[in-house]
């Protein structure tokens, strides 16, 4: 038996048998099959295979009963870890690590600001272990004094009675 050259028609045969074709398409395919020996033969094969496919009897009640209740597979972090992250974020933002050096000059006051930048790390990028380590290390930091202040020369305003 030669194959029909109309591949689209041949490929529609399973959908035809399963009733999955829109009405207009179904009419077109049936009209083609009625005049095509090759497609008529293939359609008979498709119908035979579907007939052969008897579903074995299964116990659906047992299957349904075996299904466990829904449990999210998304790992929820412990309550305190979420708050630990928030605390770390606030701490990093507030500290900023800046050292102010104030220089008093006779002609005025200028402030030389030295800042030590700290890269603000997104805490969500840190693992729990790294986060706890960071919190602990920050707790051990001592306030590092700025450079010893220069002695301030008092300015006396003339005419000051006191």
């Amino acid at each position: 038996m030669n194959d029909c050259q109309n591949v689209a028609m041949r490929e529609a045969l399973p959908e035809l048998v399963h009733g999955a074709l829109p009405e207009a398409e179904r009419t077109r395919v049936l009209a083609h099959v009625s005049g095509c020996e090759a497609c008529s033969g293939e359609l008979a094969i498709v119908r035979a295979v579907v007939t052969l496919a008897t579903a074995p009897s299964i116990d659906m009640a047992t299957i349904s009963a075996a299904i466990p209740p829904y449990a999210s597979s998304i790992r929820h972090r412990p309550f305190y870890v979420a708050h630990l992250r928030l605390a770390a974020a606030l701490l990093l933002g507030a500290v900023g690590v800046s050292a102010l050096v104030v220089e008093h000059h006779s002609t005025g006051t200028s402030m030389a600001v030295q800042t030590t930048g700290v890269a603000l790390v997104g805490t969500s990028d840190l693992s729990d272990a790294h986060l706890e380590q960071l919190i602990q290390s920050m707790g051990q930091l001592e306030a590092v004094p700025s450079a010893e202040p220069e002695p301030v020369t008092p300015v006396v305003f003339e005419g000051d009675a006191s």
Binding site: T51, A53, T54, A55, P56, I63, A66, P68, P69, Y70
Partner: protein, 184 residues
């Protein structure tokens, strides 16, 4: 004219899954009723007629246990077939290890197909059944998924780990082989 939703329209698989996640156990039952027969046919066609109940049950237990991994890119039924296929392959590997049988074909379902002979009374149907038996495992798998289940080539490719093009080729080669067998 007010348009109202069809009150008897069946909820979609996605909607039933959503309801089940929300604690509605009946939705799981409805999904089982909707898809278990097709999964059972797939398992039986794959050569596991003796353990259909067990494989189908394992399939649904696995599926619902891993429901959060179902992204909805494929149809729920296609996903179930994929799980069932993996379970069948795992069982066969396990059986091979325990029986110490070497290099068994993936589609090794000879005894299962022979047993079906006794069930088919119609001579013409029997010939078609034997024609399917003569196909290569891959051809038989693709052919039965396309014809029995009415799956698209994309769905078949997802289940078999192949491509749409390869699935199409396997299907047409299988159809040609069946016709040649019947013409003999």
């Amino acid at each position: 004219m007010e348009v109202t939703a069809d009150p008897v329209a069946e909820p979609s698989d996605t909607e039933l899954i959503r309801r089940w996640r929300g604690g509605d156990g009946v939705s799981a039952t409805r999904l089982v009723e909707r898809h278990a027969p097709a999964v059972a046919r797939f398992v039986a066609t794959s050569g596991e007629r003796d353990s259909v109940d067990e494989v189908v049950q394992d399939t649904f237990v696995r599926a619902f246990g891993a429901i959060d991994t179902f992204r909805g890119d494929s149809a729920f039924r296609t996903w179930l077939f994929t799980i069932a296929k993996r379970l069948i392959l795992d069982r066969r590997r396990s059986e091979r290890r325990s029986r110490n049988v070497s290099s068994v074909e993936e589609g090794d379902a000879v005894t299962q197909f022979d047993a079906l002979d006794a069930m088919v009374a119609d001579e013409s149907l029997l010939r078609v059944h034997r024609a399917l038996h003569s196909l290569s495992p891959k051809q038989r798998e693709v052919f039965t998924l396309r014809v029995e289940q009415g799956l698209s080539y994309k769905e078949i490719a997802d289940i078999t780990g192949s491509t749409e093009g390869a699935a199409r080729v396997h299907y047409h080669n299988a159809m040609r082989a069946v016709k040649e067998f019947l013409d003999e």
